[in-house]
Amino acid sequence: MATSKPKSLTIRSYQVGFGDCFLLTFHYTGQNKDRHVLVDFGSTGQPRGAGENLMLRVAQDIKQQCNGKLHAVVATHRHKDHISGFATNKKGTASGDVIASCKPDVVLQPWTEHPKARVDATQAPGAMTSNKAFVAALGNMHAISGAVLLEAQRRKSMLGATLFRELTFLGDDNLSNASAVENLMRMGKKNYYLNFGSKSGLERVLPGVKTTVLGPPTLKQSSEIKIQRSRDEDEFWMFQALANQFVLKPEARVFRRAKTYSAQGAPPFTRWFLKRMRSIRGEQLLGIVRALDKVMNNTSLILLFEVNGKKLLFPGDAQIENWSYALSKPAIRRLLSRVNVYKVGHHGSRNATPKTLWAGFKNRSTKKTDKKRLKALMSTMSGKHGKATSSTEVPRKTLVKALNSESELFNTQDLKGKKNISLVCDIKF
């Protein structure tokens, strides 16, 4: 048996490019008493020079670090940049197979991933419970992403390089990742699907570690702070999915019998407008995938680990809509004010470290010698997502400036070369 509390913790931030992968090793005294928790394992883009088979090499390193045994796996939400590494192949040689071979005792995911919440996404939302309707909407978002990716490929020449890159990035990140999802369902002895306030499932796995689930709220909880999800929203995603799929049908045309102009036969006086409309279509697609990306981010698990008064916050990609419920509670705000280690939300994007949260961190300090100074872990890759001209670049420069100034920042972008695949942060309790 492990002693009642861990004495220290090692956090490895892995180089996965644009994605998240953190291995938390809680050190207990005595023999073989380390406990390993893997938080996310996914990527949507890898930096040059990181070498081939990066995800497989990361998986093998994780296996080595944990001596072939993971105690828990946390998949904060279903975005590719958080779970793609869990994907398997038929030969059983993929990165996800390596992780599965570490036989985690528990797998933690948000409530939206519960198998019983799954439904046929084409059902009318009105005929379902609100939870199921929401999960169905998430399913529709995957379908939309797939369709948008296909349409973007078709229109590549019309879209322009910047728009095409952003469309394919977001479309790809929001695909369904079926293999990874299946693996996450199977690999653990027990699966937990969590929401704000629920037991974490880590109580027996991590003795002496208090784990508080701060998000995502259930729909009922959200409604308590007047964030009422309406059926109209779920319907919007259903119809949007149908619309996007309709376009992909061969020779899709609404009015088959109506007379049309040939591609070259458009009257000259319509051409300026037709050109504008083609451009608008690209912008519309981007608007849709941006919106669904946000909804998906807000299903993220938010976990707070506590040992001996030290607090570690892992919020996945949660944005303000997810955070709002937790931050509405004064006791939670007090709890969060003492955070010692903060995993920067959503790779440092502008809207996943709520300013209220950041301002509340009392351990922020500009003094590098300050022993209590906040530690921040950021896994990111510049130039992949957003653009500085619209203040949407990831990581957001104003946030990075604050992180550098007021915390000790562990940034995976500082990892260079093929061999350096993780940053190590040690915490003593």
Binding site: D232, R257, I288, A291, V295
Partner: protein, 572 residues
Amino acid sequence: MTVPPLRTRKLTIIAQDPSVKIKGKILRTQVEIPAEELQPGPWGYRVHTVDYDSSTSTLYQPLKYPSLKDGVDGDPFKGASDAKLLSDPNFHAQNTYAIVMRILARFEFALGRRVSWRFDSHQIKVAPHAFADANAFYSDRDQALMFGYFPGRKGMVYCSLSHDIVAHETTHALLDGLRERYTDPSSPEQAAFHEGFADIVALLSVFSLTGIVETLIDLNAPRRNASQIARKLLTIEELRRSMLLGLAKEMGQELPAIRGNVLRRSVELVPARDYIKQREFEEPHRRGEILVAAVMNAFLSVWVKRLKALGQIAPGALDRGRVIEEGAAVADYLLTMVIRALDYAPPVNLEFCDFLSAILTSDREINPNDSKYKFRETLRQSFASYGIRPRSEGTPGDPGIWLGPEGQLSNERIHFESLQRDPDEVFRFIWDNRGPLKFYENAYSRVLSVRPCLRIGPDGFALRETVAEYMQILELQAGELRKDKKLRIAVPEEMPDDQEIRLTGGGALIFDEYGKLKFHIENRLDDGERQSQRLEYLWGYGYYRNPASFRNFASLHRQRATSLTSFSREDW
């Protein structure tokens, strides 16, 4: 002998949307719009319909309309079957063209003059099947109204066949032409006004059709009687259930997916004075619902008042036709009131309290006697029940109206003729009178428009006015503003000293038929209190970090459908 040219023509439209039926048949109506010889499209002097589907790269061929000469009935879809209306893209094109023209004509009637689009073209483009997307929007950059379509449960759903959606988007375009600065980032209420106003015009436009009123009024009736209707069904609560909630329910089941069911949400917003102070209602769409609720409640109240004057035709029953006519007439009059008020609203930094004073004043000018149906009193009460009080105190007899200018104004060096159309002449008037007008001199100033108008009052007499609007801009840095003791504008604490800030102000000048200034309706650039609130809001919601996100109807409408906002106080 020649036949005088027709002034108006009638075209068939779907009264609300294909889901509103009567005796199993889609409820349609013929609307009267300005007559013109149409090019295929329809392509007229203000609207050019181009039926291009950008999702499938399909350009549909337009219908050729017969000439109106020699008294030809130019409505090719009169009496067409439901199947024809749904399956013929040329009807969809006609439906959008006719509704856009009807709303345009409604604006021109109310304002007593031509109304221009904001962009440099006389003709707005209309795309009735723009893309496969649950969205519809106005885009000034593209000089167009775009209407999407998507597969619904019972077949394709077309935004271009929904009266309220077409009217809503047209109103955005017209409002943008009339008040180009209302899309500027300002207060939550200015952001909310575009959406709220477009909803109000759309709903009143639908309710001004007798066919719709007739269909809805029976919703609560256990048994339909062709000639009479029970008085007990004509209380405010019963009409709210049948007319407002009824329409919300009857509207295409899939249509709320376009931008949420604003009508239902507004009707369910029970009067409370503290909404405008709540954080939830800082979000522009939620705040816009307050405006819609206040006007729609007033609509029901005035209607019920008018019904009290009707005699019973049987014990406990009123004449059905009169009840319907009264409802449509109230909607029509209210529609005129809210449109006319635009001329009396300040051209920048609008808030609901300004708009209320504008409605009260513009109506009083043309209809001094409000004692019969008390439109103004009812609107004042309804707005007050949502915590909105008129900006101006008004007079004891007419609370809330704008007051005339103070001080001795001079027209001595002004040419009356030029004053009716020339921005330079209007600016000369302002400059010559900058003392009594208390004009803020230390800013860039520009007259945006000068518009002579001729409005006809209910008594048949004409009211001639010239409406001019000017705006002022002052650009300076936050640090300079902090030191400025005269402006007294509070700068958000976290705003860096080198942050560039643009302060705006401006006013509307209403001249009477002799060139005398009747009203100077302004939101001053040096109004420290309101400018401080505005800066606080814009800083808090990230305008200075990402200005582009504050002005885009396509994304605004999608946010409304998905309840996602694109800007937040919490962003970096």
